[in-house]
């Protein structure tokens, strides 16, 4: 097929003709042409003056690019950890059956492409399927057929993501004082409001349909003749004394859509559009609407919010992420103004160092030390450092950074600006993974707004500070969360890490001094600089100060986004804040640190959340993903899940990772299928040893952690598999589905069985033919009487 070259040229015209634009140009081409034909790649190579084989390397490295056209609707099954433990595998199989294609393939009529995606960051609503732009939360295998029918109908896709508002026209702040004056003015205006309704627009609530709730509230306001301003600007008119807005994540994702109200600090849970009128009326009347509030005492009394201290999430869920005024009213940019007017760069560095802030991306490197090394490196080399924000958040099961980028982008920018001042930087990038398009939109909007307000660009707030930020989008590669791979990706190359014998602060992006910090780390900087280090050091343990945000998901009653002081015990987080496992399930393990971390059993729940404590126990803090697993999770399956995940994400440069991960996966498969012996376990440990000692980067080096931690704490489960049993009832080769005498003979499970394995008469106990059963799980999910049981042991 011959693509329209003018379409290619149109995309090329949007970006500087430089290698650094390559990944983003290819992404736009993939969106426009639905694939990347060779002719398009040749044109791009020609215009960017790059060898065509380099363009080809990039075009085949990132998962988002395809060589064949994708279908009109791309159906993505999330294979994040939370989704996996809630049954994503069965959903993938169900979709594959319904659509008639294997993952990665496109249907013949080109209507659908089925794909897996390694975490879309909506973990609290697992399992998630994304069709086109629409998120479907808590999908069950039985629902799949209905979903596919729905997609086949001409589009009635609910517009989930809110449309982008144009940036308000504004004047530049000529000085820090001018900003502080405006900030005080807006804060007082806000305090004067008679009511504020904040609809949660975080990842989970969006997936649950919160934009519809916002619309309904606005309509209800119209009907009830209550003026609800959308922005603080609109509320400058004194006749508008109440406000409704869409904020970022408010934390309690399991119970979304959430609506938060002031006065009263009330949280309404599971709000439907039909509740809108009741909410508005209750606000006007000064009371709490019946049946909607999670706790009548408001957030202060709510068990989910007790024990949390929000610093990185300070403004997330409280401000409209697209409204600079809102952020200013909440105290935003005061830290920057203070730094520019009252602190020297060295003093800022001192505060950050004194706070004990350690990187929140997973490694926990002391931020102050990193910044000081960068200052020295910059002085030695004569180049100012680049500042990078790692928004790749590839850990499946983590969405804190997504929430922060979408919910309080200005806070991230403020952190980077303060960093730029302290480090003498002039340019920065925020690297956002491809799976977070809304985060890109929000950050771009925030950057434009800041530029217009004199908060980015030249002579920021009228001072000597010159700093600007650009966004670089990832292409679908977990390895690009690794700092050196991330830098290559920004440069437009394949995301292959390099050996870190020379640190990135010396030679990083374009071989210049570079400071890379995680989104959450940057978000913590403003408060430390404004208030000094004491409020931060007052919390936490000896070695781990301050707070940490977590995405709590999996088998807990209250999944969501939390931020707790370091030192909080795992038990407190999972059982007090999270509410423990849902009824009928028993706690088994908690997984932190993503694919680099480990699984800790109940005996370790007393451990404090602390970098060293978790590492000693065989896991790690990680970026903040925390998945709770119950008795229906098979730890061998979890180990293999992580290894398979890493095998698809390995960059392939070094032999131990490229070759070792598939071998580990094969060995674990043997265990899962009951074909393994003790010798296999030894072989697993040997391959793990090779990975840990010889891999080039952290992906390979830490890959053995999930395997080794499950072997350490759950060895008896592995042994059970050697003996032919899967106690959790997950590993297909070792389980059977049986119908017991709870069966009422209702025939409900017979038709949906894709293998026609169930025979049943009305009022007779149904029977599953074990030879035909494919263990798809549908019968279990439709049965209303709990009559379908998974058993293990004995001959298949």
């Amino acid at each position: 097929m011959h693509p329209d070259i003018s379409a290619v040229d149109a995309v090329l015209a949007r970006y500087p003709a430089h290698e650094a634009s390559l990944v983003m140009i290819l992404q736009d081409l993939q969106d426009t042409l639905r694939h990347l034909p060779p002719e398009a790649l040749e044109r791009v190579a020609e215009r960017l003056a790059l060898p065509v084989s380099d363009v080809f390397s990039v075009a085949t490295f990132y998962k988002v690019f395809t060589r064949e056209p994708v279908g009109r609707t791309v159906v993505q099954v999330c294979k994040g950890t939370a989704c996996h433990v809630r049954g994503a595998q069965l959903i993938e199989e169900a979709l594959s059956r319904e659509l008639g294609v294997a993952p990665g393939e496109t249907t013949e009529d080109r209507a659908f492409t089925l794909r897996t995606v390694n975490c879309v960051g909506a973990c609290a609503m697992a399992p998630v399927v994304v069709a086109g732009d629409t998120y479907h939360a808590e999908v069950a295998p039985a629902k799949v057929a209905r979903l596919v029918k729905q997609w086949r109908r001409p589009s009635e896709t609910a517009k989930q993501a809110p449309g982008r508002r144009p940036s308000a026209r504004r004047a530049r702040f000529p000085s820090p004082k001018a900003l502080l004056d405006r900030s005080r003015e807006l804060a007082s205006r806000r305090a004067d409001l008679r009511g504020e309704i904040r609809v949660c627009g975080g990842p989970g609530c969006l997936a649950a349909g919160s934009t519809k709730v916002l619309e309904a509230i606005r309509e209800a306001g119209d009907r009830l003749h209550v003026s609800l301003g959308l922005s603080l600007e609109a509320c400058a008119d004194t006749s508008v004394s109440r406000r409704v807005s869409l904020t970022g994540c408010q934390g309690l994702c399991q119970r979304g859509p959430l609506v938060h109200l002031d006065p009263g600090d009330i949280v309404y849970e599971a709000v439907k559009p039909s509740d809108a009128e009741a909410i508005v009326q209750a606000l006007v009347d000064g009371r709490v609407a019946e049946g909607l509030a999670g706790d009548r005492r408001g957030r202060a009394g709510h068990p989910f919010y007790q024990g949390q201290v929000l610093k990185a999430l300070a403004t997330c869920g409280r401000v409209d992420p697209e409204d600079l005024d809102d952020y200013l009213a909440a105290g935003g940019f005061r830290a920057l103004a203070h730094a520019l007017s009252a602190l020297s760069p060295g003093a800022v560095l001192d505060r950050v160092a004194a706070s004990g802030l350690r990187g929140r991306g997973g490694a926990g490197f002391p931020t102050g030390r990193k910044w000081r090394s960068a200052v020295s490196a910059a002085r030695r080399s004569g180049f100012p450092p680049y500042l990078l924000c790692n928004g790749d958040e590839g850990d499946p099961g983590a969405f804190m950074d997504r929430a922060i980028m979408e919910g309080s982008p200005f806070q991230v920018l403020e952190g980077m600006l303060i960093g730029a001042y302290a480090l003498g930087a002039r340019e920065g990038w925020i690297y956002v993974r491809h799976e977070y398009p809304l985060a890109v939109t929000r950050l771009e909007h925030a950057i434009e707004t800041c530029r217009a307000a004199g908060l980015l660009g030249d002579r920021i707030l009228g001072t000597e500070l010159c700093f600007d930020i650009r966004i670089s989008r990832g292409g679908g590669a977990f390895v690009c969360g690794e700092s050196t791979a991330l830098m290559r990706s920004i440069e437009g190359k394949v995301g292959e890490p390099r050996a870190k014998y020379v640190r990135s602060v010396e030679r990083g992006l374009y071989d210049k001094p570079t400071v890379l910090n995680n989104v959450e780390t940057w978000a913590l900087v403003p408060e430390i600089v404004l208030e000094g280090p004491e409020p931060f050091t007052a919390l936490g343990t000896e070695g781990s100060k301050g707070t940490k945000a977590f995405s709590l998901s999996g088998s807990v009653r209250r999944t969501g986004l939390v931020e707790v002081p370091m030192g909080t015990s795992l038990r407190q987080l999972i059982f007090d804040i999270g509410g423990g496992p849902p009824p009928g399930r028993r706690f088994k393990a908690v997984q932190t640190g993503g694919p680099s971390g480990g699984c800790l059993p109940e005996s370790e729940l007393h451990l404090p959340i602390d970098f060293e404590a978790l590492e000693r126990a065989g896991s790690m803090m990680g970026s903040g993903g925390m998945i709770v697993m119950d008795d229906r999770t098979c730890m061998v399956d979890v180990a293999r899940y992580f290894i398979s995940f890493l095998a698809t994400e390995s960059c392939g440069k070094c032999a131990p990772c490229r070759l070792g991960l598939p071998q580990l996966s094969a060995l674990l498969k043997q265990v899962q299928e009951g074909k393994a012996t003790e010798a296999h376990l030894e072989a697993i440990e040997d391959v793990c040893g090779g990975l840990a000692e010889s891999s080039l980067c952290g992906l390979g080096k830490s890959a053995p952690n999930p395997v080794l931690s499950t072997l350490r704490y759950f060895r008896e489960e592995y042994i059970a598999h050697l003996e032919g049993r899967c106690p959790a009832g997950i590993c297909k080769e070792l389980i059977r589905y049986e119908i017991d005498d709870n069966c009422t003979g209702c025939l409900l499970c017979v038709a949906p069985c894709p293998a026609d394995a169930i025979t049943g008469e009305r009022d007779q106990i149904h029977l599953i033919d074990d030879n035909l059963c494919t263990r798809c799980g549908i019968c279990e999910s439709v049965c209303n009487y709990g009559a379908v049981k998974v058993v293990t042991g004995g001959q298949r």
């Binding site: 060779p38 790649l41 040749e42 003056a49 060898p51 065509v52 084989s53 380099d54 363009v55 080809f56 390397s57 085949t60 490295f61 590669a477 390895v479 394949v494 390099r498 050996a499 014998y501 020379v502 095998a647 698809t648 994400e649 390995s650 960059c651 392939g652 440069k653 070094c654 032999a655 131990p656 490229r658 070759l659 070792g660 991960l661 598939p662 071998q663 094969a666 060995l667 010798a679 296999h680 072989a683 040997d686 391959v687 040893g689 090779g690 000692e693 010889s694 891999s695 080039l696």
Partner: protein, 686 residues
């Protein structure tokens, strides 16, 4: 990736204290100390990648509290005080594990299997590919193509699906057929086939111009063997005892690096012979505009012209498969055809440079620059440059060169070049033909003072006697390596020593040109060459032939206790008289059959060989020659090399006189100068 070499550091490797340069990597420091560490993805010509993980070593330091790390030695910088272990148990285990994985993936790769068994690697519990892919993704091929060629191949995909290949799996347009990828591949995965007419790789076919020797012209001097970067050209002994060079067509890479060094012009590169190349360079096609400010010529290979098309528009470009093909007469000829300068662009068919060797063209350009300077051409008119990396490199280098030409001070070419016809030969004869054009013109401005300074030859002052050296310095530069160890400069030194003893008080050398006219009367001018003497006297200056002076007055010089044998033409009384005058014993080996030119016919060579055999049989270790040109020709034929069996060294009369002065017998001189060489054990291959 090397740091600044400010310091040396001291580290310990396997218990030995080693000093290394700061900025080096441990692998290199170990190699320098004679400790070898196994590698798969390392190559001396490439930046290290750290991909194979085989070169891991255990590193610790007293300040590390007992912590040991496993680092890839190819990328780990040396630093003071580190203790490195290259073969500890931990290291061996790490290698065992990596090699097990590689062996499972590539069971057919011999190198891997060998290394695997050395480290007790085993694949018992691993999935072994039934038909393994022998590519171990070491990245050597893609790295060499990116660093030295055109980035025609790269990797696609990632993880276990990663593979090496060209764009979209199609035969790569950018490939120039240099074969570097096939050369560096450790497991032989890349298929490359060399047939008589072409080279096939990546499903592309590259017609190759092999180099062919005209055996009639070949004098077996071995210059081609030394020049060939791939060790293909060889001198072999024929059944009848003669030595001839041979280039097996099936191995010849067609780089043309042997053409220029051949003094007789006996080597011809098919499709690029001299009679095609020279006029192509002189042609007015390819966008040459008349009356341009500066017109430059460029000799470049496909990599440069492909990378930067249009870079040389408006100037004269000669595209060759490999710029090793360039020769001194070609460069000088270009200047006589209206070019203001010639640039040779390197870094291309660089398989010849993978072992760290220099581009063969560099030696040619260096020579051309030297002789150019001597005849009054600004040497910067001829340059060799490696373009910087990147597509625009060739164009950028060329533009800088053209701009530089505009800034040069006026020289002999500024008023327009002397026009010449294409010389008949590309060998030494061709070069000398062109140089003579500059030497003999009315505008000639020859200057040998730099050469004299380098060689320590004094230039004559205002005294009344001088040694005229004519074109000898030019010949010396051009034949420096072709005639080892007998160099013309040695003859000049000998003359300067001897002449005062013969009563001619020369204090240095001079060089007379056609345009200098008669010198003042009373100056005594000596010369080594009869031809030159006639020319000088025709210009009205009195000249003496040095050999004549030896004949007349040689008896003044000391005599050896025992007369030594010297081969000569016994029927030439002048030669016999000279030897008598010095008290040496003439041995008649017949007439000198070699002509005045350097190229010769096979009949001429046969006679020459016979002369040498006769001399050796008669116990004469030196052969008298009567002119400098004859000395050079015999020097080429008896050139020292491992294939040499002849034990006869050509010598000039004045050198014999100098030996008499110093009391050295000619045979002893031959031995002292290291001219005894071993019999070649190689048999003839034809």
């Amino acid at each position: 990736m090397n740091g600044v070499f400010r310091d040396t550091v001291t580290l310990t490797i396997d218990g030995r204290r080693i000093r290394a340069k700061a900025g080096q990597f441990v692998l290199q420091a170990a190699r320098d100390a004679g400790i070898s560490i196994p590698t798969l993805c390392d190559h001396p010509a490439l930046e290290p990648a750290g991909a194979c993980r085989v070169c891991v070593v255990e590193v610790t330091h007293p300040d590390w509290g007992g912590w040991h790390g496993l680092m890839t030695s190819c990328l780990y910088p040396v630093s003071d005080g580190i203790e490195v272990f290259t073969n500890s148990h931990t290291v061996r285990e790490a290698r065992r594990r990596v090699l097990s994985l590689l062996a499972a993936r590539s069971p057919g790769a011999t190198l891997i299997q060998e290394m695997a068994s050395e480290y007790d690697a085993n694949t018992r519990w691993l999935v072994v590919e039934a038909e393994g892919d022998n590519c171990i993704l070491c990245g050597l091929c893609t790295r060499v193509c990116a660093s030295y060629a055109t980035t025609a191949i790269g990797t696609s995909g990632r993880g276990a699906d990663k593979q090496v290949g060209p764009f979209a799996g199609k035969p790569p347009d950018d490939c120039v057929g240099c074969g570097a990828c096939a050369m560096v591949c450790p497991t032989g995965v890349i298929e490359a086939e060399r047939t008589a007419a072409d080279y096939r790789i990546w499903e592309r076919v590259f017609p190759t111009s092999v180099c062919v020797i005209d055996t009639a012209q070949c004098i077996g001097c071995g210059a081609c063997e030394e020049a060939c970067p791939f060790h293909v050209a060889r001198v072999v002994r024929k059944a009848d005892g003669t030595l001839l060079a041979h280039i097996p067509a099936e191995h010849c890479r067609g780089c043309g690096a042997c053409v220029a060094p051949c003094p007789t012009g006996a080597i011809r590169q098919e499709t690029l012979p001299w009679e095609v190349v020279a006029p192509r360079f002189a042609s007015v096609e390819a966008g040459m505009a008349a009356d341009k400010g500066t017109t430059a010529g460029v000799v470049a290979c496909q990599r440069s012209t492909r990378a930067d098309p249009g870079a040389f528009d408006g100037h004269r470009a000669l595209e060759v498969p490999c710029v090793g093909r360039v020769s001194v007469p070609l460069l000088l000829y270009g200047l006589t055809q209206g070019l203001d300068g010639v640039l040779v662009l390197g870094r291309h068919q660089s398989t010849c440079r993978l072992d760290g060797a220099e581009d063969p063209a560099v030696a040619v350009v260096t020579q051309a620059r030297e002789v150019a300077r001597m005849v009054g051409i600004h040497p910067d008119r001829i340059r060799f440059d490696d373009p910087p990396p990147g597509r625009n490199g060739p164009g950028e280098t060329f533009r800088n060169f053209a701009a530089m030409l505009g800034t040069l001070e006026p020289d002999i070419l500024s008023a327009g070049p002397p026009s010449t016809a294409v010389p008949a030969s590309e060998g030494l004869d061709g070069t000398l033909e062109i140089l003579d054009t500059f030497y003999d013109t009315p505008r000639a401005s020859v200057d040998f003072s730099v050469w004299c300074g380098q060689e320590g030859i004094p230039v004559a002052g205002d005294r009344k006697a001088a040694l005229n050296i004519d074109r000898l310095p030019l010949w010396d530069v051009l034949t420096r390596s072709a005639t080892r160890p007998t160099r013309l400069v040695a003859v000049i030194r000998a003359a300067l020593e001897v002449l005062p003893e013969l009563g001619v008080p020369v204090d240095g050398v001079t060089w007379l040109l056609a345009n200098q006219g008669a010198r003042s009367a009373g100056t005594i001018c000596c010369t080594l060459c009869p031809e030159e003497r006639r020319r000088i006297e025709a210009a009205g200056v009195k000249a003496f032939l040095v050999d004549d002076l030896i004949r007349e007055r040689g008896a003044r010089l000391p005599r050896l206790p025992c007369p030594d044998r010297v081969a000569c033409d016994g029927h030439d009384q002048r030669q016999v008289d000279l030897l008598d005058a010095l008290g040496l014993e003439p041995v008649d080996v017949g007439r000198d059959p070699l002509p005045d030119r350097f190229a010769l016919s096979s009949g001429e060579r046969t006679f020459a060989d016979a002369r040498l055999v006769k001399a050796e049989a008669a116990g004469a270790h030196v052969l008298l020659t009567t002119t400098p040109r004859a000395l050079v020709r015999w020097g080429m034929m008896t050139r020292q090399g491992t294939w040499r069996t002849s034990r006869v060294v050509p010598v000039s009369g004045v050198q014999l006189a100098a030996m008499a002065l110093s009391g050295t017998s000619p045979s002893a001189w031959a031995v002292e100068a290291g001219m005894l060489w071993e019999t070649s054990s190689r048999e003839a291959t034809r």
